[in-house]
Assembly symmetry: C2
Homo-oligomer: 185 residues x 2
DNA sequence: TCTTTCTATGCAACTCGTTGCATAGACAAG
DNA sequence: CTTGTCTATGCAACGAGTTGCATAGAAAGA
């Protein structure tokens, strides 16, 4: 499991509350690791009782109070140890691919709209990543000499961008294939 | 959930036992949907008691008997209905990306070996996919006029190939970044 | 002969992840 | 003044997925 570790990395980058973490998991960290707020709250509790992170009650005006978490010494050790352990290369879970193969036993043309929808979603995601890259790394306001953390965040984001571009090209290929099949029926 | 649907697709392509399905989930279908044999046996049981699939006891010599499953009419309906429902575009789960961002708080150079290991694994997977493509789709023994099912299987495999190529290029980018960071410490 | 490997199926326990629901203060729009 | 939205936290129940273990016949190799 790596949700704990993803949270440790995020809290090292910047301490925050469960709510703030769940927002980060909708962007930034969430580009390559997803989690719902319920999951995050549950895991934060366990991490705190295990001494990996510290809590600080922060009163706020015009808002409910929050609990700000930060990484404790033990949490740093846990993360460091995990970083030195090998992990398995990812295995994919691509529901759309199951559908595409399933289309052979149904109407392939009926899938076109669905694939177009996915194409649009990935186009949006790519635009979002590129805007983030310009804002934080390649634009005029970006740091001229990025530190290690920024360079590593950038290379991860470049991975997301490459993934979306590859996916869009593949979805074009899928659409071509479905359209070629369609008229024959 | 789509394990049921992945199993339906696989059984439509060719009926088989739980054991055979679990082997297919290590190749072919497993390229984009993973499942362990325990998961498969459990789901097969539920699908059978729900009337989605039929069982046939097949005695074998030199081997334990097996239960061969095939898709029932109800299963075809269920699959067809699922194919017409929209699904969410995939969200990624990339443990290595968490590690890379985490490396900012540890020794980036220590990750190089790990990334190289992943590079090797993806190189192997790509070679495996390309061999499968040559065998089934582009080689001399491939069908000259592939049917719809074969064309759809091929486009899914092309997706796997594109994914591996993209990943390898990104891992090269990651290695460059880590090596540039290393000497500065 | 003994160990290992392959085919073949399955239970039990556990962890991970999702979904639905609940609470509660503050603010904005209608 | 009511409804909706945003911040903020959490419980309970369920479903999905993993890990460990067990059984059992046959073949292959040491």
């Amino acid at each position: 499991m790596a949700l704990e570790h993803a949270i440790l990395v995020s809290l090292l980058e910047k301490p925050g509350s469960g709510y703030e973490l769940s927002r980060r998991f909708e962007r930034s960290i969430g580009y390559f690791w997803t989690a719902t707020h319920q999951q995050i709250y549950r895991v934060l509790k366990r991490m705190e009782s295990d001494g990996w992170i510290d809590v600080r009650e922060v009163p706020q005006q015009a808002r409910p109070d929050k609990k700000e978490y930060s990484v404790a010494a033990l949490g740093r050790d846990v993360l460091s140890q995990w970083l030195h352990e090998p992990i398995e290369p990812e295995s994919v879970r691509h529901e759309l691919a199951v559908k595409i193969r399933g289309a052979a036993f149904d109407d392939p043309a009926a899938l076109i709209r669905e694939v177009e929808r996915h194409h649009q979603a990935h186009t949006d995601r790519l635009a979002h990543y590129l805007a983030g890259e310009r804002r934080d790394f390649t634009g005029p306001k970006a740091p001229a000499t990025p530190d290690a953390g920024q360079q590593l965040q950038h290379v991860v984001l470049r991975g997301g961008i490459a993934y979306e571009r590859m996916t869009l090209a593949w979805l074009d290929d899928v659409l071509d294939t479905l359209r070629r099949l369609g008229p024959e029926r």
